[in-house]
Symmetry: C2
């Protein structure tokens, strides 16, 4: 019963008060109300600002006590020095929860920590849970609900939910949602974790039927970590959890301390080995974190084995891609006789290997636009192949869309993950890619990233196979 | 005396015959003459095609013997079965060298190998050197000279030269030259290495004053490798050599055999340790290969030490970036008192660390557009800082170009490498980036890539410091 979890009200507020709301565009705070309006949040918005009659056309209140209705979520975004007083005077009987965006508490040292503890004490006494401080969230795309300092025009609904230690996603969030073609479900920042921790967030998202993939960025685990490991283990049985850990080195751990007051310890080896036992997928970099999110979101059906079929345009890339597979635990599939019979008519005047399949050679002898079609269909039908990694042809190359697209779209129905990469590495916003991704065929920037992502799917399959 | 090296004539031909020239746009061969015309090759072009009077307006010849002039380079791009006869009948007294593009020789097995050996014998007897077979090149941007199967409109002159085992660059070449903003000097494919090898190519480019960075993609080293190691060692003393090795695993080595007939062995560990002794910079993936090429091309001045200053927009990214530095051998710089004095006026109402510098916090309290200006200038002046990695602000963020650009452009004059990354990861073709890269400030897609590149510069410095 997800509705009974305390975070449900944070993600699905019917009303929100925004203390510090502004329509002054030189303040990042103006996005708080503006985004809710632009994106179409259906709940009630109560801007709180003693210096305004209204904010973006919505009646403003001098203080939160003037609001006569229940407030599911109170968002606080005012200077740190004024927060304690606000907290002391909240109308607790009317409010559901608090999201404390303001920074300048435990992350700045003892004095900040002391005020933060005081705030936590008052909230606890009043039975009110709180996100933050020093955290910018929550977001729930299905409710058109967003707390962000960045101007967002739309919030595409998806199945990936994020837990962030802090607002690292912020400056790239609009890019993630648009050109990166990643739809999200929910997002929560933890910040200084005065109250709500990764365990609460994981517990909620684990139960959330709208969340199919959980991506978690952490700088430290709060407490002794036993509960965290337990809930993580339990969650990965049902959905993939991708973990990105900041502060893995001494240098990084020091920065984490001044960033969110996190004791990251730099305990890299222990954390890694614990993580492995939980079945969580470790991302080494923010790049991997986002690409893995996309892979698991686009390819919900795991491969049945580790046998991969590869096709590239230049042959040299086939060699490098085979290396990447081997280094990442994927085995080169050996396509069967039926595939040979179907593909041999594409051969140059000599026999060529079926895997990797070198489209460069094929096209220089046989420029038929349905080479891709025949190849993909053969591999999808071949029981010796578990997944496919295929390089797209150069954009300048003549491809007839009707021949090119349909087989890719059959991959899902065949239960075989397929991932693509273009011959260039960036500029993934072309029409071909847009079309493919709209149809759940992910396109990654390079062979290295494509293979890493397919390997992550395979590693998760291996973990689950042990149960 | 670079002019006396036999490859000089290959890269600077005053005349070129193209056997297999065509103006049939359904054949990739039509690009061979078309590109030379479009890009403005100033030498003489002799298309050879018995079925054409002229190719793209240039008189065509029935066979190469009809050409009455000297031919610096004979390019052969006809089916494999016809090559031997052509080779048997070349007018050797008139020709400088041969580039054999055609594939289908040693890479397809014993029969192909036998014909290839026969061709090599005839060429050797006649004292003629040859590139290939199964190789698409050469290219020399300063001569507007290009042999390519892809349609190219321009060839930006740069200082990076490439040696490829095969035409892996081809489908992405136009992207490399345009959106990736990488200018090249020369490019040579080795293919099956019937005659010209990596040693010849390295020897030439090592001496070439127009080449400042050498990028070498290999599947195998021909012969016992001693000469290769010797020339590589000698070259890295004067210019960086980036090496990407295909066939590092058994799986990859098997593919290399059918790709260029290379005996790649998969002898990963031995190759790596030998490479390390030579001072060559190893790229693990094609991605790294191209990013390193860009880093060394844009940042010819190496850092004086390993102390890096970092600035990010979200603080969480600062933590991860500090981790990346530490994992890659870079130390967090400790900016001096002068930097503190200059930067403290940007601080929020509390003290914040100078390194990494968190622009997210800075901007939320002080939205002045010249925060970047002040920060970069301070770090460039600070003797405790050897290099800088700075994240660009979100594109939606108000930045005044006059405040933003100038300090970046001072980095070179200060002798400190600076590399940037945007808050999104792809789409690097924006105007800001175009401007910066035109001014030799490289922008990479992410912190992970940026730090890897700066670390590669630092590792090369460390190698050179031992002499």
């Amino acid at each position: 019963m997800i509705e009974t979890h305390f975070l449900h009200r944070f993600f699905n507020p019917k009303s929100v008060a925004i203390i510090g709301a502004s329509q002054n565009t030189s303040s990042v705070n103006h996005h708080l109300v503006n985004n809710l309006i632009n994106i179409g949040y259906k709940g009630k918005i109560f801007p709180v600002n003693p210096n305004a009659e209204s904010i973006f056309g919505i009646k403003a209140y001098n203080n939160v006590n003037e609001i006569q209705e229940n407030i599911d979520l109170v968002v606080i975004s005012i200077p740190a020095r004024s927060v304690l007083e606000i907290i002391q005077n909240l109308p607790y009987e009317k409010i559901g929860g608090v999201a404390l965006i303001t920074g300048g508490f435990s992350e700045i040292g003892a004095e900040g920590k002391q005020i933060q503890d005081e705030i936590a004490k008052i909230l606890k006494k009043n039975g009110i849970r709180a996100i933050g401080p020093n955290a910018l969230s929550p977001i729930n795309s299905r409710q058109n609900f967003i707390i962000s300092f960045f101007n967002l025009k739309k919030l595409p609904v998806g199945n990936v939910s994020f837990i962030f230690q802090s607002g690292m996603y912020e400056p790239r969030f609009s890019w993630i949602l648009s050109d990166f073609h990643l739809g999200i479900s929910k997002l929560i920042d933890l910040g200084n974790k005065m109250d709500v921790t990764e365990v609460d967030a994981l517990e909620y998202l684990s139960q959330d039927p709208e969340t199919k993939v959980i991506c978690m960025h952490l700088e430290a685990v709060k407490g002794n970590g036993r509960k965290f490991v337990e809930i993580l283990k339990e969650t990965t049985r049902r959905k993939p959890v991708i973990v990105l850990k900041g502060g893995r080195t001494e240098a990084g751990a020091q920065v984490a301390m001044s960033h969110t007051g996190s004791l990251a310890h730099g305990g890299n080896i222990v954390f890694d080995s614990v993580l492995k036992q939980t079945g969580a997928i470790r991302a080494d970099t923010l790049d991997d974190f986002l690409y893995f999110a996309k892979a698991f979101s686009y390819l919900p059906i795991l491969p049945r084995g580790n046998r991969i079929a590869i096709a590239t345009f230049p042959g040299g890339e086939a060699v490098l891609t085979a290396d990447l597979c081997s280094q990442n635990g994927l085995a080169m599939a050996r396509p069967g006789q039926a595939s040979y019979e179907r593909l041999k008519r594409l051969f140059p005047p000599w026999e060529v290997p079926l895997n990797p399949f070198d489209f460069g050679i094929i096209y220089s002898f046989n420029a038929s636009t349905n080479n891709y079609h025949i190849y993909i269909e053969s591999m999808l039908d071949d029981e010796n192949v578990d997944c496919l990694a295929v390089q797209l042809p150069p954009l300048t190359f003549p491809i007839k869309p009707d021949d090119f697209y349909p087989p890719f779209l059959k991959a899902k129905e065949k239960g075989k993950p397929i991932a693509l990469w273009p011959p260039h590495m960036l500029k993934l916003d072309g029409d071909v890619i847009k079309y493919l991704e709209k149809n759940s065929v992910p396109v990654f920037p390079s062979a290295a990233i494509t293979i890493k992502c397919l390997a992550a799917l395979n590693n998760y399959r291996l973990y689950l196979a042990d149960f």
